[in-house]
């Protein structure tokens, strides 16, 4: 743990930043993270000693910081990242969680695993090679997942002589692509991970760059979208029966407040059934709570004896979620087997799992060109598609852009139990997005 942790407490208001990193092969992503960890003194001496042993064995005079990241034997052998690795560091300003994700298209499922919980995505571009297909893919997927801040690090500036002209050409192509997909809040930083320019310390080789080094930028990014302003959503995880005196039992509904807040006396609707009751008490392990805030795991009691079970969502009656047995969504297909129009699937959304099927593939999207192919009959691994999902029973949900917790779902193969796809429920025409929504309909 970094020694600077001590000072971090005073900066708790700005909060933790989770960021994902992605880049094409050889873009220097592992070196960049190694550099961030090393220069912010988050690497322990025994791990540095291990790197020094490796360097001596190979007869190299500098340690290879990229080796800090690739955790699996097969990754070190091949020099690639296959699955997400999480690492943790802190500076005087902030605590960070890095989700280092693979660049290969083959491992897109792992890239989106890391990006799904990120507040920012750091995407690497090789200054000499420019915007690659994979980089477009990473930018698009990060934007699709609604990652609030996109940061493009134009790496290997040393290979183009730290030349502003070369950088400007790359910047122009990034900005054009970001515009095309409708990404706002995109930051671009010229760096050299290998030499440390503009990673932690400002570069003396690029006096023409007026912005902040990467770490300073990450330290200053506004905190993640605050969900307490969105309408109250409480997917029920468990029902608990607590004995009270007189041999009676009261029922408590356990779960996490995904957005908004709740207090005793509030009127709530039990969705998807729509029955309305009032909250009698809100509590946690320590006792009654004046208010259950977003993000907190709590217990709720209601006034009326209602049938409330795992998978139901408690919401305000006046700001309910949508309830339907079908929806339109953008999905990313993960399974090597692809989708052939058949197959039995389960849809897990919030705490509810229902049988469902892909009723229609509306279009497949080519992430590189943003061209759409209408009504394909099959999907391959890593395809991005707009689909219509039909459900065996009604579900309460929101659009992903309005509420990540109630707008995201996974598709589980009912036969193999594998997670074969992840999806984001689309807005209906004219539906408003929450602040920070990706608006991923753009350009289509």
């Amino acid at each position: 743990m970094a020694p600077l942790d001590q000072k971090m407490d005073t900066a708790d208001d700005i909060g933790l930043l989770r960021f994902s990193t992605a880049g094409s092969v050889d873009d220097g992503k592992s070196s960049l993270i190694g550099r961030l960890l090393y220069d912010s003194k988050a690497v322990s001496t025994d791990r540095i000693a291990a790197l020094e042993r490796i360097a001596r064995r190979k007869g190299e005079d500098v340690i290879d910081l990229s080796l800090l990241m690739d955790g699996l034997t097969v990754e070190r052998e091949q020099g690639i990242t296959i699955d997400v690795a999480y690492s943790y560091f802190a500076t005087a300003q902030r605590k960070f969680i890095i989700a280092d994700t693979p660049g290969h298209e083959q491992y897109t499922r792992n890239m989106v695993t890391g990006a799904s919980t990120a507040d920012a995505a750091v995407i690497l571009v090789d200054a000499a090679r420019g915007l690659s297909l994979q980089t477009r893919r990473h930018l698009y997927l990060s934007h699709l997942l609604g990652v609030p801040h996109l940061v493009v690090a134009v790496n290997k500036m040393d290979l183009v002589g730290f030349d502003k002209g070369a950088y400007d050409i790359v910047v122009a192509s990034i900005e054009a692509f970001a515009d095309a997909i409708g990404a706002k809040r995109t930051y671009i930083v010229p760096i050299s991970a290998k030499h440390g320019d503009n990673v932690v310390n400002a570069s003396t080789n690029m006096p023409w760059y007026e912005g902040q080094p990467l770490l300073a930028l990450l330290e200053a990014l506004p905190p993640a979208i605050v969900m307490h302003q969105a309408p109250f959503r409480f997917p029920v995880q468990l029902v608990r029966r607590v004995p009270v005196h007189g041999g009676e039992q009261i029922r408590q509904y356990l779960g996490r407040v995904e957005s908004g807040h709740i207090k005793a006396g509030d009127e709530i609707a039990v969705m998807p059934a729509g029955r309305v009751t009032r909250v009698r008490a809100v509590s946690d392990f320590h006792g009654p709570l004046e208010r259950g805030e977003s993000g907190r795991s709590i217990a709720i009691e209601v006034q009326d004896e209602l049938d409330i079970a795992r998978g139901d969502v408690l919401t305000p009656p006046l700001l309910p979620p949508r309830v339907d047995d079908e929806f339109t969504a953008t999905i990313c297909w993960f399974s090597d087997d692809g989708f052939n129009g058949q197959g039995r699937y389960l849809v897990k959304c919030g705490t509810r799992t229902v049988a469902g099927r892909v009723a229609e593939i509306i279009y497949r999207l080519d992430v590189a060109t943003l061209a759409t192919e209408p009504n394909p009959e099959t999907l391959r691994c890593n395809d991005i598609a707009r689909v219509r999902i039909a459900l065996a029973e009604s579900l309460a949900f929101d659009a992903y852009d309005a509420n990540r917790a109630t707008g995201a779902f996974i598709l589980i193969d009912a036969d193999t139990n594998a997670t074969v796809a992840a999806g984001m429920i689309a807005l209906r025409d004219g539906e408003a997005t929450a602040a920070g929504g990706s608006g991923f309909d753009v350009g289509l």
């Binding site: 955790g71 799904s116 995880q237 468990l238 993000g295 907190r296 993960f334």
Partner: protein, 310 residues
């Protein structure tokens, strides 16, 4: 050699950060209770699994836990830790199941290459046997991603095939908080509610919750065998070698595992506040400083995990 106790009193725990970690762990524990029919919580008496018990109280009290506690005892644990384990389980009023590596040896399930071989890696077999015996479909463990780079790759719901193996190249995608708990018979899930906690978070939480830990975690005098740069503990069951140089040092343990592979660090930190202050300036990683089993190769944890280790 004396080590000064750091006088700087650390600032109080960052409340919101710990609240977020706690809330996430409670959510994961409740998802486990909902998605599995027969889970178990692995409790060793160590600090991480003791924190797990506290979180389970927060998730489920006043009800009983929806799972028993399971300890795989190598027979080489520190006696103080075993006493702590038994006392805490009794205080909580929860069922504690203990299965020993010795049982697996007696039944011929594992063979020792030498009588003095560390039994730490052998506990995977005993664990898998216990999972089969009780038909557990989920095992909740206190592993954290910051401990070691193979653990840094692990999902929160981490699938094991019917041989108990982890296949790190084909993990289920795990997006948002949508954990896929579906299994076929004979398979099981390892569940890690503390995935996003770091060592300092654990200590901050222990401080905030005023939790008791085995005394080994705090500075105490202990005779140790000095072998190179390692200070090696010994006990009646595992005596020092004849050629060992024995010295009494003031030490504490950062991890508490098997006596044959757990090393103490020199420290005067006798209270939780002092441990936090020391942890914040520590330059060695937790397992690197104290675990002989992780020093053998770059991939030692990964190899053990693939075979069923926690």
């Amino acid at each position: 050699m004396t080590i000064p106790v750091l006088s700087a009193k650390p600032a109080p725990a960052p409340a919101r950060h710990l609240d977020n970690l706690e809330s996430e762990a409670i959510y994961i524990l409740r998802e486990t209770a909902a998605e599995f029919s027969n889970p178990a919580l692995l409790f060793s008496g160590g600090k991480d699994s003791t924190v797990l018990l506290r979180l389970a109280e927060k998730a489920f009290r006043p009800s009983k836990f929806p799972f028993p506690l399971l300890h795989v005892d190598t027979g080489e644990n520190f006696p103080e830790v075993i006493a702590f384990r038994d006392r805490i389980a009794k205080q909580l009023g929860e069922r504690l199941i203990v299965r020993t590596v010795q049982d697996s040896i007696d039944r011929g399930r594992v063979k020792l290459k030498t009588p003095n071989q560390s039994r730490n890696a052998l506990q995977s077999v005993t664990l898998l046997d216990a999972i089969a015996e009780f038909e557990f479909d989920a095992c909740i463990g206190g592993a954290r991603r910051d401990e070691e780079k193979a653990r840094a790759k692990e999902r929160i719901f981490s699938y094991r095939n019917s041989f108990g193996q982890w296949d790190p190249r084909h993990q289920r995608p795990e997006l948002w908080s949508l954990y896929n708990g579906r299994l076929d018979k004979g398979e099981h899930m390892r569940i890690f509610p503390l995935s996003n906690w770091t060592e300092i978070d654990i200590w901050r939480y222990i401080e905030r919750e005023e939790m008791e830990l085995p005394s080994l975690y705090y500075a105490h005098e202990r005779p140790l065998a000095v072998r190179g740069k390692n200070l090696v503990p010994f006990s009646d069951l595992f005596p020092a070698r004849e050629d060992d140089v024995i010295e009494t040092r003031v030490v504490r343990f950062r991890t508490v595992g098997d006596i044959t592979c757990t090393l103490p660090v020199e420290s005067n930190a006798a209270t939780v506040e002092q441990v936090i202050a020391e942890t914040m300036v520590a330059s060695l990683s937790e397992r690197g400083a104290t675990r002989l089993d992780d020093q053998t190769s770059d991939a030692s944890m990964e190899e053990r995990k693939r075979a069923g280790y926690f």
